[in-house]
Amino acid sequence: MAPRIYDALTRVVANLGNNSRVLAEHAGELGIMVWNIGVACVRLRVPSREIFRQIFVVGIQSVPIVVVAAGLIGVVTSQQGGYQMQSNLPLYVMGSVVVESVILEMGPVLTAIVIVGRVGARITAELGTMKVSEQIDALYSVGRDPIEILAAPRVLALMISMPVLVAVADVVGILTGMFSAQFTLGLGPETFFYGARLFWHSYDLFYSLLKAFVFGVAIPIIAIHMGLRTSGGAEGVGRTTTQSVVFMTLTILIIDAMFPPLFLQ
């Protein structure tokens, strides 16, 4: 009996040690990568043409899906809010509920989740494929730094694009929420915006865009880090992309949970 307990304990300790090692590896590699991206930006070693190309790919091409997602968010928020407060609160409060929900929470978070699926997964799969097919090694072999050519442009592009996308999502979400309130509750635009103004703080917009900016940094950094760690052929690319999406989604939710105590107190 004693040897079995000893074996089980040994396995637990070994697993714990191994997981801690992997965690430390991730943290160390992420730290070095972020530092190198910073150095590449400061030394102006990031090709501007590639930044613009990435802004088009990750930003402009994401507008349609972000608009659709934000439009639906506005409709759902408006309808659920209306259902809950129909008999308890004056309807003009709906304006505030929709605007504040979309700007503080739904706009940034759901846009980030959409971008994780559309852009983050793409970055991990793209760089992962380059890693397993030795294209990353080939870049090093010809004296080019993948951090300068591949990583930094993607991070900069998403840092710039994400606040713009969230601003678009905020506007679309509010407008669809307003129209939805008009059709389902008979709440006119004037009343809707009267309610919205009652509880409006200009700081809320800054909060929304700041959140977007932080998401815009976190998503590409995790996606690139995971892509450059890929090994094991096509199966490895699939596995790493899935892990990357899970990490990015969890990170978005954790950052989102940290925002109110840090910035809304």
């Binding site: 380059m130 097919s133 030795e134 294209q135 090694d137 080939a138 870049l139 090093y140 072999s141 010809v142 004296g143 080019r144």
Partner: protein, 265 residues
């Protein structure tokens, strides 16, 4: 004495190189390649031949030991020294590792160091890419504008070679240059390796499983087994070796080569 060596000056030196992944792969490799010679490293699959080759330009970093290229330390010489070493080496990858999103011209152009590119006119760059493709027996006019996906396996390999020689390096590293090719293409690539090494006056280090071809082409050969150099010497000495491990490997390789020839017939 090598067939076309300029003396006995070591140009690549592996000094007590250790590398382990989950298990040890290289366990203290000591080897030197002389200027101007063609050197082949044989060994069974998984013995770390490609890992050793990649340590030459820090594509894989050893756990211990050092590699010197033309007297400069790869690992203790600093960033500038490594850049200089990489500029001086052309690396031919096992599966070409062409950049998917770039045309053949852009791929070959990547082989020219950024420092040299800065001082070259566009016409000079095009001429150099054109000449590199001609050297590997490709028709530049037909392939320059194509993407790698539009090329056959043999053509991709040749473009990979053209990229490696585009910067006119003094050292060429060949990672399994004939892997995945049929015997006819294998013979053609072997002729190409020999011709390029002579015409460009380079030092060539190959890792290959094609023992017959390696013995035929190279001035010296080595066999890697169990993470160490088991044999190092001339092809004649390899054929005469009475080491049972070397003998068994050479006999097995000869049998596989004979089967390949029979298959073609």
């Amino acid at each position: 004495m090598s067939r076309h060596s300029n003396g006995s000056e070591p140009v690549i030196e592996y000094l007590d190189v250790f590398k382990a992944f989950d298990t040890p792969v290289l366990s203290g490799v000591n080897l030197s390649v002389q200027k101007g010679e063609m050197f082949a490293i044989f060994g069974p699959s998984g013995t770390g031949k490609s890992v050793l080759l990649k340590t030459t330009m820090a594509l894989i970093i050893p756990d211990r030991g050092d590699v010197r290229v033309a007297g400069d330390s790869v690992y203790f010489g600093g960033r500038r020294s490594l850049e200089k070493i990489r500029d001086n080496i052309g690396y031919v990858f096992q599966y070409a590792a062409l950049f998917d999103s770039l045309t053949v011209f852009e791929n070959v152009k990547m082989g020219i160091s950024e420092n040299i590119l800065r001082d070259m006119s566009r016409i000079d760059v095009e001429r150099q890419a054109w000449e590199s493709l001609e050297l590997v027996n490709l028709e530049p006019g037909q392939v320059l504008g194509k993407l790698p996906a539009e090329l056959s396996g043999g053509m991709k390999k040749r473009v990979g070679i053209a990229r490696a020689i585009a910067g006119r390096p003094e050292i060429l590293l060949w990672d399994e240059p004939t892997t995945g090719l049929d015997p006819v293409n294998t013979a053609a690539i072997e002729r190409l390796i020999r011709r390029l090494s002579h015409e460009l006056d380079t030092t060539s280090l190959l890792v290959t499983h094609d023992v017959e071809g390696g013995l035929d082409m190279c001035d010296r050969v080595a066999m890697l087994e169990g993470g160490k150099i088991r044999f190092s010497g001339t092809p004649e000495a390899f054929n005469m070796s009475d080491d049972p491990v070397v003998r068994a490997f050479a006999d097995r390789a000869a049998a596989i080569a004979a089967l390949d020839v029979l298959e073609v017939r």
